[in-house]
Amino acid sequence: MTRVNRCMMFVPINNPRFVEKAWTRGADAIILDLEDSVPMSEKERARALVRETIPKVAKGGAAVFVRINKEFIQADLKAAIWPGISRVIVPKAQTSDDLRMVDALITKLEKERGIEVGTIEIFPLVESALAIANSYDLATASPRVKVMPDGWGYDTALDLEIEMFAGFDQYVYMREEPTLAEMAAGVEAMGAPYIPGTSGKVDQKEEGKALADALRQLHIHENIILHPALIEPMVTGLVPTAEEVAWAKKVIDVYEELEQQGESAAEAGGKVVDVYEYQNAQELLRWAEACAAKDQHKARAVARAQSEQAPASNPPSDVKRV
């Protein structure tokens, strides 16, 4: 199945309230966070929770990822690599050596714990000047790197002393240099386009919608969110619209007819239809189908989870009569 992670939501693993509710939110993927949302004093307790937390947050059909600490790679991976985890978020990756070490450790743990070797992805976060400069090396450091973000973000701002949300785009180079490197390396680029007027508040639904629109138009399929309010805008906004699907189907029809006539390009509705547009249209339909499949998968999982819960909390009425 095509990877569908329209919204990956961080969940602080040390907070039971967030953990218990996480599966009901509808995110495509849950990131169990061992890094920024866990204070130093609770790191060890957090690690011990990973294995039992995986099935809890997966109940709604979400994929489950984990974010480890740069400082505790070994301890965190040992605690986190269990069946059900499909991606490791590696923050503050700096050099390809960092990622090769993570790769080797994951391979060892996959073997020990009965997980098919090579199936767990590495998702490096580009969060510093050095990471941006090394972006091609990071993208090619391990075959486990399938998707990678650009250098936009909070940590990059700290490292480069950038003032975020100042009303203009300060990230042109930091965003596009890694993006180009990733594309050159054959890795899916998860960019964060500049949206004028973004406030920097993490719960703004309208801003989320604008971002989702931009992402969809740029064919960016993945996004990390920090607040559940953004789940709905991402899950719906990254799916091709009905008009986009209809246009794609038309392009395919027009092009296939052209091909039969031995022609290579035509105009339809004021737009060019050629082999590129044809490939684009096919890609769009594939993505739309993958999103639909993911939605169905999640809906079934939620229904199953609810029916399993129902008898325990609401015993059938005939039991009461006895």
Binding site: Y136, V172, Y173, R175, E176, E177, T179, L180, A181, M183, A184, A189, G191, P193, Y194, A214, Q217, L218, H219, G262, E263, S264, A265, E267, G270, K271, V272, D274, Y276, E277, Q279, N280, E283
Partner: protein, 309 residues
């Protein structure tokens, strides 16, 4: 060369076209690019290759410089069919590795020898179309001394990068800057236009084309490929300093020279300061504008003279 090469419009004409000179008469591009790539359907490619020598010879006396665009997939037979006297250079799209360029360079040398063309005289205009090619741009541009031009190939690029052709090209300004910087660093002509949404694949209106070219000039580019003949005029206009600009530069230079005589190192005109570096840049622009005007005169004279016959 004392005067700058004026290569604003690079008009792509199908390689199987019988009378390419008609395009020179009618549209007067700075560079005529006989195409062996997209504009020729596969079943006519052989014929186009066979026809190419005649086409180039027929353009021998025309004021447009002649290039041939080869197809990356069939580059060996395309190059072989192309190299002859009268050919200025080859437009090479799709390269990604420096080894490939070095290989093509050697092959062109062989062809030059066979065809009796001055060794090393055939130029290469490198058009970068893929993420790999753009990432490697600096190494690619250094891979052959024949390379005189470095360009952004927008259609293929858009697809390879997976960008929505109708959306706002997030990465495009960055790629333009990247190619521009590398081209300028190595002394190559930067080729590209700031095409916007709705103007993909030659569907740009004359107004959109003018805007794309003008903006590209302000960004530092000096020419671009034209997918359609109607784009030649707006491209030439967009890449040429306007009359107003020329008048303004001339005025500022006069004022600067006068002020200099009084011992001042800069002149203040309406609150803006102009120093000798700025004056130097304006002199260069004026030389460029004059060269453009001469070039346009040559071409229009050719167009009229041929019509009279």
């Amino acid at each position: 060369m004392n005067t700058p090469a004026i290569r604003r419009s690079w008009l792509i004409v199908p390689g199987d076209e019988r009378e390419p000179i008609e395009y020179v008469r009618k549209f007067q591009p700075d560079v005529l690019v006989l195409d062996l790539e997209y504009t020729v359907p596969p079943r006519r490619k052989e014929e186009a290759r066979a026809n190419l020598g005649n086409g180039i010879r027929s353009l021998a006396q025309c004021p447009s410089e002649v290039f041939v665009r080869v197809d990356w997939k069939t580059r060996w037979c395309d190059v072989k069919a192309t190299v002859c006297s009268g050919l200025r250079g080859i437009v090479l799209p799709g390269a990604e590795r420096e080894e490939d360029i070095a290989e093509i360079d050697r092959f062109i040398s062989e062809c030059e020898q066979t065809a009796g063309v001055i060794p090393g005289s055939i130029e290469l205009a490198l058009i970068l179309e893929s993420a790999r090619g753009l990432w490697n741009a600096l190494n690619l541009a250094k891979a052959s001394p024949r390379i005189t031009t470095l360009g952004v190939g927008r259609v293929d690029l858009t697809m390879n990068l997976g960008l929505d052709p109708e959306g706002d090209f997030r990465i495009y300004p960055y790629l333009m800057s990247r190619v521009l910087t590398i081209a300028r660093a190595l002394g190559k002509q930067p080729l590209g236009a700031h095409w916007r949404q709705g103007s993909r694949g030659g569907t740009a209106s004359p107004e959109q084309t003018l805007e794309a070219a003008r903006r590209a000039r302000f960004e530092g580019f000096t020419g671009c490929l034209c997918a359609r003949p109607e784009q030649v005029a707006p491209v030439a206009e967009g890449f040429t300093p306007t009359k107003d600009e020329v008048n303004r530069f001339t005025y500022i230079l006069e004022r600067f020279e006068k002020t200099k005589k009084t011992g001042q190192i800069y002149v203040d005109i309406d609150g803006r300061l102009y120093d000798s570096a700025k004056a130097q840049a304006y002199r260069k622009l004026l030389t460029f504008a004059q060269a453009c005007a001469r070039r346009d005169d040559d071409k229009s004279y050719f167009g009229k003279a041929e019509v009279k016959q």
